[in-house]
Symmetry: C2
Subunit: 304 residues, 2 copies
């Protein structure tokens, strides 16, 4: 069976919007567990302004505190050249850049036009040149924008080209607010892979409208093998209070494991880490497997 790569984003995409600051040592401990559990990539933190995202104000301490497991890529989100310098100082394996396909969403998210974002990214590429740090380019709102609605596929293609021009080694197509349908995932990914057959493409889904795992199955069908997911299903979207967040790592790994896909990630260790997360956050997380158990967890028969 196909090898599928599991890329964990809870400590960045999840923790950034939590009501509370997760203490640095708890972040480090969780990231170490995720590394031991064998996920392929961990988006550790963001090198953004501590004022903009106070929950991730300990980015340096976290990056320097974690144990780096061989085979795991430790990536960080960065918004600008300053972030690139901070990531380089911490010897991140990769940096993740984010621009929205939707002009309106980009403006709301980073207060820049998309052209301005890419101008910044070119400066970042200069800063990182020669450091060996890889660049991943994320396109937010690839499958729809909560302000603009539908997204023009040609624009997605153009922006992928722009990322590749500045030296990105991988592209993430992000469904930022959970608007993708399986049909749409199938069509767009097929077109992207037809044009760039060797490009490492990641799909980043949110389960906002319940379609997350259906979208993964469709991505796999057309040949995408890398998936972002968030432990416990943390994360979410400010426009959908109460809705579920990113697709849940252990639910994803559970589904794929029981279909015999090849993964490095260990399901039981992920479930244990997700339970730790509930303890850290002192609340229930949206993931289903920690509530329902694995398919293989059989019940004893007692006739009452």
């Amino acid at each position: 069976m196909q090898r599928i790569y599991i890329q964990e984003v809870a400590t960045r995409d999840g923790f950034q919007i939590e009501d509370q600051f997760v203490p640095t040592d708890q972040k480090v401990e969780l990231i170490n567990k995720l590394g031991t559990a064998g996920v392929d990539k961990i988006e550790v933190t963001s090198f953004v302004s501590p004022k903009a995202v106070p929950n991730l104000r300990d980015a340096e301490e976290v990056m320097k505190g974690i144990d780096r497991k061989p085979g795991v890529t430790y990536t960080t989100l960065i918004p600008n050249a300053k972030g690139a310098e901070r990531a380089a100082a911490c010897e991140a394996d990769e940096v993740n850049l984010v621009a929205s396909v939707s002009e309106t969403h980009n403006k709301k998210n980073v207060r820049r036009t998309v052209d301005q974002s890419f101008a910044d990214f070119n400066t970042i590429a200069d800063v990182l040149s020669g450091t060996g740090i890889q660049i991943n380019g994320t396109l937010a709102t690839t499958f729809g924008c909560p302000f603009e609605g539908g997204i023009d596929e040609n624009r997605v293609m153009t922006l992928i080209d722009q990322y590749l021009d500045l030296g990105a080694g991988g592209i993430t197509l992000a469904d930022t607010t959970g608007m993708a349908t399986p049909k749409q995932v199938h069509q767009l990914c097929e077109h992207v892979l037809n044009r760039w057959p060797d490009l490492p493409v990641t799909l980043h889904f949110h389960n906002t409208r319940g379609m997350g795992l259906a979208n993964v199955m469709e991505g796999i069908r057309v040949g995408v093998t890398r998936y972002d997911a968030s432990l416990g299903g943390l994360g979410g979207c400010p426009f959908a209070p109460g809705a579920t967040g990113n697709i849940c790592t252990e639910d994803l790994v559970h589904m794929l494991r029981f279909m015999d896909y090849e993964m490095n990630a260990d399901l039981d260790q992920l479930i244990a880490a997700s339970r730790d997360l509930e303890t850290i956050l002192q609340r229930e997380v949206p993931g289903q497997i920690i509530k329902a158990g694995k398919i293989s967890d059989l019940h004893s028969v007692s006739y009452s």
Copy 2:
């Protein structure tokens, strides 16, 4: 695009396990709204012992109180000949029989061997003979049993044959405790439809482990066009407290509508009915669309 049939089970599969009895007039009002919303079939209630399922003790009043919309099939679950007589007296369009593929589950669920269940079903078929009331045969635990684990496909095939022998006009393959994976759905449904190409097959999924809509997509891929779903995602499984219930009707219709599948059901009316359900039950239901809104519900841009 393909025509997909939406079959509502909330007032039976959902209400039977709620903590509270839903008053008869509220049941009737909800079922009338579901009929107006254009679902293709409604499993109205169960003609079981009021002692066994007190929440559905008003089965006759509900069946007699509802408005029957043309084109909608009003079905009821029945366990035995007595239930068949009650369903016939209320002029149900169809009765739904349930036996588990797993011997252990059948014993736990109805305190009978599977052979005893089918002996009862033959008596039921005799009772209904000449009434014009259709029989649907449901196989519970088709995709896995919480006690026995994996299910032998040959046994599923044998039991479908037994249902057809006693005159069932349709078969429901039920994933009673949410154990099906997309791969399994694909394989089993392909085999069933290869053997009985014209058999009306329904898939009945629970979203216990988050795979519900992914399983629907796989069922559609191999040609199954009938899906049970529960308004608000009501229902559930006693072995997975806190886990989500049946796949959610409005989430299902939302996904399929935005992929241009043809359905009779009206999404906005279903969403409105699901909000009513929250009022009736005085609690949040698991469905995602009533929290997140439709893909097409755009947000206004206000730069703060």
